[in-house]
Amino acid sequence: MPEIVLKNITKRWGNFVGVDNLSMTIEDRAFITLLGPSGCGKTTTLRMIAGLETPTEGLITIDGVTVFDSDKGINLPPQKRDVGFLFQNYALWPHMTVYKNIAFGLENLKWKKPEIEERVDELCKMLKIEQFKQRYPSELSGGQQQRVAIARTLAPRPKVLFMDEPLSNLDAKLRLEMRTELKRLHVDTDSTFVYVTHDQLEAMTLATKVCLMETGVMQQYDPPLVTYSLPNNLFVADFVGNPTMNFLDAKAERDKNGKLRINMYGIEAEMQTEDVFEMPVKPEGEENAQSDVNVVVGVRPEFLEIGSSGIQAKVHATLPSGMETTVKIAYGEQIFTSVVFGGVDYAVDEQIKVSFRGNGILLFDKFTGKRLCSGALKLAK
């Protein structure tokens, strides 16, 4: 069963560290997305697993076979790793017809001609590109080229499929369609998918597990909904979710009853949580004007409720999209984001009352950025 294991993978170019000490296990038949801003090392990671790039240090096994080991000097070439790779720009060979493009890999595997024809037909039917078989890539639209690239990658029935931002060159509508098809394809082909993207929505909707990276370091590796509701740190919390999470600098302390008191820009509240953590203290040498701020409260827009009670604030702007409405709320100098279901239109500068809802409110360490706890936030009366 194709399980992929990475142990302490590091890639350096001179002094520049592309990927830093990455360890992860990609389970059999998983759909993993490598997510992160551009330049974070996600494509490099993918290329290293595929064998197109050589890691500086570490160990990679695919399906129990060690394909790379810096200590033992093992480095299997890409063609021996039995993987498929879908490139961002499709990399279709311009001088070959669609048929030839798909058949090329099978010829290399010494398949017999009738078998090749059968397989190509099968794939063309599956991806709805039968009528283009004799065309050249330059005569196809972006979406059709994409399908040919997928067919070519799937043809030798690889157990592991790598995809490097395969949808980023498509228009918005087609991208949405292809997402659905990729998810179906994952089940139909019964293989492991590793998918690189910088689009957090794509990562969330497709994956069984999301690996979020920043500057070569893995930040979180969890199922998408866990990453969304329990981000490990401020970076993850900020990167995942749209509109982004609200961050409120605050001072947290325990009162004599053991209750967790929070003060955000003068707003008094109580955090109710079952998580146990140590109260962050300002590290020595840290200079900060707001001397007493020690935590950041993270509130997803959907947990910021506009209602009849709560903090007095006013509407900064309203952005209705039909199904939901994003409301920008001004409180003093701060602007917060709230999402309301349905189309509601507030007038600019309208006075409203805001409160916190649910128990998905997060508390982060101001200094390390780490998540401390999650729970409910009750405003002090």
């Binding site: 063609q79 990399a91 060979w93």
Partner: protein
């Protein structure tokens, strides 16, 4: 119903009445756009100066235009089909026409093959393997292309010459080893093809290397993933993708070789004739009609080659250049061979780049040509006539040399200014009015001289000189030079402008910056290096051009290259000294501009 018809008629009448007014408005609007003015002016000017000489050329193939020609029983000023008959159908046709044509084609074919093999292999090693010393190789490798085309030819002669053949003096190999190579190695088809091939190899290297470097590495990686071996990838993926570029290189080298004059002139040695050399001797002897027929044939070949080139590069398989994001190409590991390969390539490049200069220097310092035991500096610094008994004093004090030097510099400067500035203007106007018929027309007109072999273009302008009474003046040299090098300049200009989005200029239009100021202060500075290569290319090409001007110079307008052509056969030492002077001048100017502006010869079309 009736009302409707009435209204319709009324409207039609008012339309008719307003047509003239509308046209005037349109005209006014049309000419307020500077781009349109530029296009119209260049269209008229280029159409005249390209087509008029061509028409007179065709006309003169039927005309009797010299006393010599009346020998065949035709009268001066008559029209006759005799020249065509003599060239194509008479008993002399093999000697006069088919043989030189065949020689030309064979020589060009072999030269193209050599250029592509040598240039292509070097390009492959540099872009696709982990060979050492890439930067130094790619620097010296393009040297022979910067130097005048006859450099390698004279070098070849200096190197292999022995007392039994040619001028009867000994060359480097003979002097050092006593080895006498057969004549076919020194003069004739084989050396001509080799020398042309070596001269154009850097051109092939630049074209093929450019494609290989820009080729998306993902295309090769995709094949690796699909289990193709390294060799198979090169054979099935890399080669087919660069094939159009290879074909295109082949055709361009072929066409350049067809119009090469200096090399077959120096290495033909009176026995091996090609179209250009035969044409020159026809014209020299006054057989204009027959010479012009050869020129016309060369032009037809040029056009046919371009059509073929369009077909090759424009096919449906042509690749879409979506550049990949994998910047780190995985180089082929040559192992220990990487040192061997780089040493071989460095030695070869240095041999063809530096050795010519050394042999010219040595030859120019010999009392007896080729005899290194008799070194002297008299060919350089003697104030009295030299031992060669030709009435020439040392190079530095020879008036002819300094006049030619001045002429060459002035000519190159003027051609570069005219062609370069026209290139900038054409680039601007064509890119601003992209897609219109007028822009397309000017674009193709400006590229047309590229197809006309230099020698034939010179011939065409020669037919024109007699008509306007400008004769063989300096003006005609400037005109023909500016037109011949316009394609290089207009290519650079158009390329530079297409990279520049229109908004950059529009931002200045909005705040009311006048047109000339937009050009000088905004557009030119942004694309400076590309524009300047549009000036640099004509300048260096003009400095080393021979075949274009050889028919048009008069004693008062002698250029360095044509002076060399005169000296070459008779006075090898002075010729070698002059040759060295030309090459050094070209190199110095090239590197000076390169350092000052960052523009380099590798940009633009070349040719």
């Amino acid at each position: 119903m009736n009302d409707e018809t009435n209204v319709k008629i009324e409207r039609e009448e008012s339309v008719k009445a307003g047509k003239w007014l509308k046209f005037r408005f349109w005209l006014k609007r049309f000419f307020t756009n500077p781009a349109n003015i530029i296009l119209v002016v260049f269209f008229v000017f280029l159409a005249f100066f390209i087509f008029y000489p061509l028409i007179t050329l065709v006309y003169d193939t039927f005309a009797v235009s010299s006393v010599t020609e009346t020998r065949y029983g035709v009268k001066m000023g008559e029209l006759t089909g005799l020249w065509w008959y003599r060239m194509i159908a008479s008993e002399y046709n093999t000697m006069y026409f088919w043989k030189p044509l065949g020689n030309s084609m064979l020589m060009s074919f072999l030269a193209s093959i050599i250029a592509i093999l040598y240039g292509g292999i070097v390009a492959f090693f540099i872009t696709r393997t982990n060979m050492k010393g890439k930067s130094i190789i790619s620097m010296i490798f393009v040297f022979p292309y910067i130097m005048p085309s006859w450099t390698l030819a004279t070098f070849w002669k200096n190197f292999w010459q022995n007392p039994d053949i040619g001028s009867g003096t000994g060359g480097m190999v003979y002097n050092l080893t006593g080895l006498k190579v057969p004549e076919g190695m020194v003069y004739g088809l084989v050396p001509c093809a080799i020398v042309l091939g070596l001269h154009y190899a850097p051109f092939a290297y630049i074209l093929i290397g450019g494609i290989l470097r820009n080729m998306d590495a993902n295309l090769e990686e995709a094949a690796t993933i699909l289990h193709a071996s390294r060799f198979k990838i090169v054979r099935r993926i890399t080669l087919p993708i660069v094939l159009p570029a290879l074909m295109s290189t082949f055709l361009l080298v072929f066409s350049s070789s067809m119009s090469a004059y200096a090399v077959p002139q120096y290495l033909g040695s009176g026995r091996f004739y090609v179209l250009t050399t035969y044409m020159k001797s026809f014209l020299n002897q006054g057989y204009y009609g027959q010479g012009y027929i050869m020129g016309l044939v060369m032009i037809l070949f040029g056009v046919a080659i371009l059509v073929a080139n369009q077909y090759v590069t424009g096919k449906r398989k042509s690749f879409t250049t979506v550049s990949g994001k994998s910047g780190q190409v995985s180089y082929i590991n040559l192992g220990k061979a990487k040192w061997v390969v780089s040493v071989i390539l460095i030695v070869l490049s240095i041999f063809f780049a530096v050795m010519p200069l050394i042999t010219f220097a040595l030859e120019s310092c010999c009392v007896v040509a080729g005899d290194y035991s008799t070194l002297t500096l008299q060919y350089w610094i003697s104030k009295t006539p030299t031992d060669a008994q030709n009435g020439l004093v040392g190079l530095f004090f020879e008036k002819q040399v300094w006049r030619a030097f001045g002429n060459s510099l002035l000519l190159s400067f003027l051609c570069a200014i005219i062609a370069g500035s026209s290139g900038v203007l054409i680039g601007y106007a064509v890119s601003r009015r992209r897609g219109t018929k007028l822009a397309k027309g000017v674009d193709s007109l400006a590229f047309l001289p590229y197809l006309l072999p230099s020698m034939a273009l010179g011939g065409a302008f020669l037919t024109m000189t007699t008509i306007f009474g400008i004769g063989k003046s300096f003006f005609i040299l400037v005109l023909v030079g500016a037109i011949k090098y316009l394609p290089m300049a207009s290519r650079s200009g158009i390329n530079a402008m297409l990279q520049l989005s229109g908004e950059i200029e529009e931002a200045a239009v909005i705040v009311g910056v006048p047109w000339w100021k937009r050009m000088v202060r905004i557009i030119f500075p942004i694309q400076k290096s590309t524009f300047i290569s549009g000036y640099l290319l004509p300048f260096t090409s003009c400095m080393r051009e021979l075949s274009l001007f050889v028919l048009l110079v008069a004693p008062s307008t002698t250029l360095m290259a044509t002076l060399l052509d005169e000296w070459m056969l008779w006075w090898p030492q002075s010729a070698n000294a002059l040759n060295l002077l030309i090459i050094v001048t070209v190199l110095v100017i090239n590197f000076a501009v390169n350092k000052l502006t960052g523009a380099s010869i590798d940009k633009g079309v070349g040719g």
